[in-house]
């Protein structure tokens, strides 16, 4: 990859060493994002290793995911894979300088990402309602008491490692997807997205019932709103093709992590 801003002959050399050749031949934002993703991959790597450790260590490991859960997770996988394609098309549109299509493709990516979050949230609510909980954690969140009998309640009681590993890993991923959707919104819509995010936050806060596990966590959207507002107002800029490409790197990474979570967590715990 070469970039005009990186060529030596177009920058000054007043201070020796100030404009050294970029080591990786890429602009700094992209190298920064790659380094962040490398470090984040170690975070997810540790979680996936911990999940695998629990799975090997604990005999017998529960296999609670019925056909409906597998179908749901497969649709979620399809959403993320499709969102990666629309993201690539968005990067192409940005590099063509086609603002309208960049925005459309980024919006399509956000829709797929939101579909993933909603499907995952529904799956979580169903599992929790059927008794798959982390002991003590649900009480802290003010979630209504789930079933105390049945397959999932037995798993929570006998193999608490399963809900801990499952919710820990998938919550971390869901948080990343949520941040990704907000990041895309900021890049695509800039300050207009603040209003959209505010409406979604308020609507979600009123619509999600108090007994639901997402009733309090949804206020993370409010925190995201404040952070996005600080970024957009303190450093207002017109996001260019580089910003779209860097945002795309983050989004593809989120997709990449799911390619390991899906088989390891869901497919290896099927109950057909």
């Amino acid at each position: 990859m070469a970039d005009a801003t990186l060529q030596h002959d177009v920058v000054g050399h007043g201070v020796p060493g100030e404009y050294e050749a970029p080591l990786f031949g890429a602009y700094s934002k992209k190298v920064g994002m790659w380094l962040f993703l490398a470090s984040d991959s170690l975070t997810f790597g540790a979680l996936l290793f911990a999940f695998s450790y629990n799975r090997i260590y604990t005999v017998p490991w529960p296999t609670p995911f019925h056909v409906e859960s597998i179908i749901n997770a497969t649709i979620m996988t399809g959403c993320l894979l499709s969102s990666s394609l629309t993201m690539v098309l968005g990067v192409f549109a940005a590099q063509r300088g086609d603002r309208a299509w960049t925005r459309y493709w980024l919006l399509a990516t956000m829709i797929f990402g939101t579909a993933f979050i909603v499907l995952h949230g529904m799956e979580w609510s169903k599992l929790i309602g059927e008794g798959l909980t982390i002991p003590g954690f649900m009480t802290a969140l003010g979630v209504a008491a789930p079933k105390s009998t049945g397959e999932f309640a037995d798993i929570s009681r006998n193999v608490p490692q399963f809900p801990q590993a499952f919710f820990g890993l998938t919550a971390m991923h869901m948080l990343h997807v949520t941040i990704g959707v907000i990041y895309l919104g900021v890049i695509a819509f800039r300050k207009m997205f603040l209003a959209i995010l505010g409406v979604i936050w308020i609507a979600a806060a009123f619509l999600i019932p108090s007994g639901n596990v997402f009733h309090y966590p949804v206020h993370a959207l409010g925190i995201a709103l404040v952070v996005a507002a600080i970024i957009l107002f303190l450093k207002p800029k017109d996001y260019d093709a580089h910003d779209v490409e860097v945002c795309g790197l983050y989004w593809h990474f989120v997709d990449l992590v799911w390619m390991f979570i899906f088989p390891l967590v869901y497919l290896m715990s099927t109950k057909i």
Partner: protein, 107 residues
């Protein structure tokens, strides 16, 4: 200015990669649904398929295939080395299989 994604590649290859990822996902689901292999062999096969899928995503969607060789190899080797170290930390201990605390078997 020319950029990372404006080399000779066409958009078509990204649709092929997307299709390949969907097909590999379908193969994974069918293998798990039909329970074709025993658990250990199934894990190995699913992880191999996942590594292929992640290589497609990193190489094409994230364009690492088209980056400078130094960046490509430095990222891949450093992250892979960290995972190998993690493997040796975690798994020798995980082999100490313990029964569930109350001895109650689960399906």
């Amino acid at each position: 200015m020319h950029d990372v994604a404006t080399h000779d590649d066409s958009k078509g290859q990204y649709f092929w990669v997307w299709g390949a990822l969907l097909v590999l996902t379908a193969i994974e689901v069918v293998l798990a649904y039909k329970q074709v292999f025993a658990a250990k062999r199934m894990l190995e096969i699913l992880m191999i398929l996942s590594v292929i899928k992640s290589a497609l995503i990193i190489g094409y969607f994230m364009h690492l295939k088209f980056e400078r060789a130094l960046m490509r190899w430095l990222l891949v080797i450093s992250v892979t080395a960290c995972f190998i170290i993690m493997y040796f930390f975690f798994f020798p201990d995980a082999g100490r299989v313990m029964p569930p605390p109350n001895g109650v078997g689960l399906p």
